[in-house]
Symmetry: C2
Subunit: 192 residues, 2 copies
DNA sequence: TCTAGGAATAGACAACCGTCCAAGTACCCT
DNA sequence: AGGGTACTTGGACGGTTGTCTATTCCTAGA
């Protein structure tokens, strides 16, 4: 993907708001070109193909969420508090950008085709997670068998419940869902 | 999807063993037809389209895993023990059938196109999960905020770590992965 | 002002994919 | 045997994708 001019990026991002509801990014290049009012040839001039274009969109969404997640990671309180904040922020991101939530699995599945995206996801979401986890472990607040696995497990859990909610309810009530899933993951399933 | 003759089902299932390694079901109908030695038009006689064909394959895999998971759910020990058994069985299923693991997200994403599959998944995996969870809650062994959400979260966590391991390692060491993720979910992240 | 060269675009193209129709075949019931 | 029904299949169709070439546009530098 070439470096693209500001106005072209804007047009593309504006266009994404007019994609058919609930279609994720299942839109033909032709359609994107039509909606964004950009010649198809120009899209192929800047993007190597459709995957590249989808990656552009997902990267944009990921960029938008990064600040919120990193802010949560840097918030006040114990490591456990911050962890809960980050988890809630992730659910919030999915609530705000359902497309990102729904497309993420495909992107992960074909990770080799989405190197830049995977890097962005790691930077935006997984690293904050890992950092808070490591901090909490060092402080003795959290007990972790394997930080990497724990981070992935948390991410998977948050993603699944978000996706399920999005599909069945059409939208996410962040407070409600976070209230149900965050303490469950933090405290575990076992009664004390 | 029509009821399909035994020999045709066999041919299709045999063919799936020869799909390109690590391609999930990203195989063209043309390819499937060629490998299974069935005319392309015949496939479209029995299946409404590619989704339908993938659903057939996933249903087969799901069927194969059902027994193992239900056995785990009916095993000896406390609810927590059984829950751990079921979790391990799920990871084992993913280890045995990586394609199922990798394709599941797409199937969930377009749940409306995969009604039968979703029903099968619910029957094979989610119901055993929920039953053990409900039992454990009734016995006071487990503390659950919301059974449905908890089941989804567990499933999401197991799926994500399995997928990540499959992609990065190429295969899953069930004991090792289960040892890392199961106690973490059961006990939670917080130190006691 | 002129020009060279990169950026942008139109349009044609082949390849492939999923879909579907219409014709052929086999089989069963009466 | 006859006719109806389900099965099977060849082949055509429209749509999308990615590529390529040729033309136009734009702009910096001589």
């Amino acid at each position: 993907m070439k470096i693209l001019p500001e106005d072209l990026a804007m047009k593309l991002l504006d266009a994404s708001h007019e994609f058919p509801e609930g279609s994720g990014f299942d839109v033909s290049i032709e359609e994107v070109a039509r909606i964004a009012d950009i010649p198809r040839a120009t899209l192929y001039y800047y993007f190597s193909g459709k995957d590249d274009l989808v990656e552009f969109y997902l990267n944009d969404l990921m960029d938008r969420t990064r600040a919120a997640i990193q802010k949560a990671a840097a918030s006040e309180g114990t490591s456990a508090d911050r962890l809960a904040q980050v988890m809630t922020a992730v659910i919030g991101s999915f609530a705000e950008y359902p497309k990102m939530c729904l497309e993420l699995p495909s992107a992960i599945k074909s990770g080799q085709d989405h190197v830049a995206l995977m890097a962005n996801m790691d930077r935006s979401v997984m690293t904050p997670f890992r950092e808070v986890l490591i901090e909490g472990k060092a402080a003795g607040e959290l007990t972790l068998i394997d930080v990497e696995v724990a981070a992935d497990a948390i991410m998977g859990a948050l993603h699944m419940v978000s996706m399920k909610t999005l599909i069945t309810e059409g939208a996410i009530d962040v407070e409600e869902l976070a209230g149900a899933v965050v303490p469950q993951l933090v405290n575990g399933l076992l009664s004390r």
